[in-house]
C-alpha cells in the first residue's frame, strides 16, 4: 500500500515534470524540471530499495551533469532559435520515433505480464529487510563477476575523455 503510494507519486512527478521540461520556452526552467524528473526517478530507485543507485543518480546526474548543463545554459545565448528547431519535418520524425518507442515498451510490458518469472515481474520478491546490502552486491558483481566488461567500459570512457581534451586543445591552439 505505502509502496504503491510512494511509487505513483514519484512516477507522477517524473512524468509531469518531464512533459513540462519539453514544453517550457525558458532553458533554465527546462533544466529545473529535468532536475525534478531525475530526482523523482531517484525516489523510485529508493522505493525499490536500490539505495546505491538512488545516490549515484543524485550525485552523477543531478549534482554533476545538471550543474554542467546549467553552467553551459548560462554561458550560451539561447534566445536566438537554432535553424534546425524551426524545421517542420522534424516534428513528424519525432512523432514516429515516439510512437515506435511507445509500442515497443507496451509490447515488452504485455509479454512480461503473460509469463511471470521470465519477464519484468518477479513472482516472489524478497522482503525489504531481508535484502543483501546493495552497495556490496553491486561491488561484487562489478569487480568480481563482470570485471572485464567493466574495465573495458572504463578504458573506453578514458579514451573518450582524452580524445575530448585533445580536440579542445587543438581548437584553442589554432
Amino acid at each position: 500500500m505505502l509502496d504503491s503510494v510512494i511509487f505513483y507519486s514519484f512516477a507522477g512527478i517524473a512524468v509531469i515534470s518531464a512533459a513540462l521540461m519539453i514544453t517550457r520556452r525558458n532553458a533554465i526552467h527546462s533544466a529545473v524540471f529535468l532536475i525534478t524528473t531525475l530526482l523523482a526517478t531517484a525516489g523510485i530507485f529508493l522505493q525499490l530499495r536500490a539505495e546505491f543507485l538512488f545516490i549515484s543518480q543524485i550525485i552523477l546526474y543531478v549534482g554533476g551533469i545538471m550543474v554542467l548543463f546549467i553552467f553551459v545554459i548560462m554561458l550560451v545565448r539561447l534566445d536566438v532559435p537554432l535553424p534546425q528547431i524551426r524545421s517542420r519535418t522534424q516534428k513528424w520524425i519525432a512523432l514516429l520515433v515516439a510512437l515506435a518507442v511507445g509500442v515497443e515498451a507496451g509490447v515488452v510490458i504485455f509479454l512480461a505480464r503473460k509469463a511471470p518469472g521470465q519477464g519484468l515481474l518477479i513472482p516472489n520478491p524478497a522482503p525489504a529487510d531481508k535484502l543483501p546490502p546493495n552497495t556490496e552486491e553491486l561491488a561484487n558483481s562489478l569487480f568480481r563477476t563482470y570485471l572485464l566488461p567493466f574495465e573495458i567500459a572504463s578504458v573506453l570512457l578514458l579514451v573518450a575523455m582524452v580524445g575530448a581534451v585533445v580536440m579542445a586543445k587543438k581548437r584553442t591552439d589554432a
Binding site: 529545473v32 545516490i55 543531478v62 550543474v67 554542467l68
Partner: protein, 454 residues
C-alpha cells in the same frame, strides 16, 4: 481502531527516535547557526584585538536572536525583472538540501535520524551537493550581473572542488571498508586509530575542498564583497537572505560532521580503549562546570542588573547540564549505560565539529582571498592529482598490509611519504607553470588599452 490511524501509530512507535531527532535538528540548527555567527564575530574580534558584539545581552550573548528578529521584520523585496518562481524557490532549495543531508549524520551513537542506511555518508555528500543549485538558480533568477557572475563562479568552484572532496572521502572509505556512518566509527574504534592518522593527506585535501565547497574565505569568490557586492545574494533581503545564510552555516555543520565522522573518529572519546586515560570521561563535566563558574565570576561585573541575572541563568544552565553529565558518567555507577553513550558521544562529536569549524574561522581571518585563476589552478593542478594519487596509495598500503602481512602503520607511513613526495613534485612543476602563466597574463594585459589613459 481505524487501520490508518493504527498504521500511523505503529510507524511512530518504530521510528520515534528518528522523528524526534529530525524535529530537533530542524528546530535547533537555525539557533546553532546564529550562535556560530556570534562565535565567528567574537573570534574575528579576538584575532583583530577588539571586543566584537557587546551590546545585546552580556558579552553580546543575545545578538543572534536580535539579528534574527531584525531579519524577520525586514521588507521582503523581489525585483520586478526577477524570475518570480525561481527567485522564491532557490533559497528554499539550499536550505532543504542542507537540512536533509543532516538526516544521515550521526551526532552520537543515538542521535541520528536515519539510523541504518547502507549508503550512509554518501547520502550526506550527495544530498548536500544539491545545495549549490539554490545558489546558481538564485543568482540567475535575480537578473543582475553581480548575481550571475557569483552564480557562475560558484558552479565552477563546485565542479572543481567536489571531485577533490570525493577522492578524499574515497581514501577514508577504503580504510573503513563501509559507507555506513555507524560502521565507519566502529571500525575506527576497532582499528585503534582515527583515520586522520592513517590517511593524513586524505583529511587535509578534504579540509581544503570542504572550505571551498561551503564558499568560505579564502574561497569565497561567489560572494566576494569587494568585487561582486554580495554575489548571488545581492538581490535578496529579509527572510530569503537569512535562508541562504542559514544554509551556508548548516552546510558548514554538514561538512564538518562528514570530516569528523570519517577522519576524526566520530563520537569516540580520544583513545577510547586506553584504560589509564579513563579520566577523560570527566572532561565534559569539568568543562561545563568551569564555564558555569566563569559565568558566575563575570555575573558580578556586569553593568546592568538584567545582564548579571542573565549571566546567573547561563551559569545555572551550565551547572545543570554538568550535573546530568556527572550522573551519566561511568564514575557514578548508575545503570545509565545508554544515556552515557548518547550524551558523551554527542559531546565528543560536537567538540570535534567545533574544532573543525574553528579551523574554518581561523583560516578565514588569516588568509586573503584567492584570485579566480589561482583557485582553479589549486583545484585542478594540485588538489585533484594529489587526492587521486592518495587514493591509489591508500589502496596500495591496504594491499601491502592484507596480502603481504606488512605492518599497517608502516605501510601507511611509506605510502603517505610517497604521496607527499608527489605533492612536492606537483608544487615545483606548478611554480614553474604559474610563473610562465603570470608572465603571459602580464604581457596580455599590457596590450589591453586603458580607457582612462590620456
Amino acid at each position: 481502531m481505524n487501520p490508518t490511524l493504527h498504521s500511523i501509530l505503529a510507524f511512530v512507535q518504530t521510528w520515534w527516535v528518528g522523528l524526534l531527532c529530525a524535529v530537533l535538528i530542524v528546530l535547533v540548527v537555525p539557533l546553532i547557526a546564529g550562535y556560530i555567527v556570534l562565535v565567528e564575530r567574537k573570534v574575528m574580534a579576538d584575532m583583530q584585538a577588539r571586543l566584537g558584539p557587546m551590546r545585546v545581552g552580556p558579552h553580546g550573548l543575545l545578538q543572534p536572536i536580535a539579528d534574527a528578529l531584525k531579519l524577520l521584520i525586514k521588507e521582503d523585496l523581489i525585483p520586478d525583472n526577477a524570475d518570480q518562481f525561481i527567485f522564491w524557490f532557490a533559497p528554499v532549495l539550499s536550505m532543504t538540501a542542507a537540512l536533509t543531508s543532516m538526516g544521515a549524520v550521526a551526532f552520537g551513537p543515538w542521535f541520528q535520524v536515519a539510523r541504518d542506511i547502507n549508503i550512509g555518508l554518501l547520502f550526506v555528500v550527495g544530498v548536500s551537493a544539491l545545495g549549490p543549485f539554490g545558489i546558481v538558480l538564485g543568482g540567475w533568477a535575480s537578473n543582475n550581473h553581480y548575481s550571475i557572475i557569483g552564480a557562475l563562479r560558484s558552479t565552477a568552484q563546485l565542479i572543481s572542488y567536489e571531485t577533490t572532496a570525493g577522492f578524499a572521502l574515497v581514501s577514508g572509505f577504503l580504510l573503513a571498508g563501509t559507507l555506513n556512518v555507524r560502521a565507519i566509527v566502529e571500525t575506527q574504534r576497532a582499528d585503534h586509530a582515527w583515520y586522520i592518522f592513517l590517511a593524513p593527506v586524505g583529511f587535509f585535501t578534504y579540509l581544503i575542498a570542504s572550505i571551498a565547497e561551503t564558499n568560505r574565505a579564502p574561497f569565497d569568490l561567489p560572494e566576494a564583497e569587494s568585487e561582486l557586492v554580495a554575489g548571488y545574494m545581492t538581490e535578496y533581503s529579509g527572510f530569503r537572505w537569512s535562508l541562504y545564510f542559514l544554509a551556508e552555516y548548516a552546510n558548514m555543520i554538514v561538512v564538518a560532521s562528514v570530516g569528523t565522522t570519517l577522519f576524526l573518529g566520530g563520537w569516540l572519546r580520544p583513545f577510547p580503549s586506553v584504560q589509564w586515560l579513563g579520566w577523560l570521561d570527566a572532561a565534559p563535566t569539568l568543562l561545563l562546570a568551569a564555564v558555569g563558574a566563569y559565568c558566575v565570576f563575570r555575573a558580578g561585573k556586569q553593568p546592568a542588573r538584567v545582564q548579571s541575572l542573565f549571566m546567573w541563568a547561563v551559569a545555572f544552565a551550565c551547572f545543570v547540564v554538568a550535573a546530568i553529565f556527572a550522573l551519566a558518567s561511568p564514575f557514578s555507577h548508575l545503570p545509565l549505560e545508554r544515556m552515557h553513550d548518547g550524551l558523551y558521544g554527542a559531546f565528543w562529536f560536537l567538540l570535534k565539529d567545533s574544532v573543525y569549524i574553528y579551523i574554518f574561522m581561523w583560516l578565514r581571518f588569516t588568509l586573503p582571498r584567492f584570485r579566480f585563476d589561482q583557485l582553479m589552478r589549486l583545484g585542478w593542478h594540485i588538489l585533484i592529482p594529489l587526492a587521486l594519487i592518495n587514493v591509489v596509495d591508500v589502496g596500495i598500503a591496504l594491499a601491502l598490509s592484507s596480502e603481504f602481512g606488512l605492518n599497517r602503520w608502516l605501510a601507511m607511513i611509506v605510502t603517505t611519504a610517497a604521496t607527499l613526495g608527489v605533492a612536492i613534485l606537483l608544487l615545483r612543476w606548478n611554480d614553474k607553470y604559474s610563473a610562465a602563466a603570470s608572465a603571459a597574463l602580464l604581457a596580455d594585459s599590457s596590450v589591453v588599452e586603458d580607457p582612462h589613459a590620456g
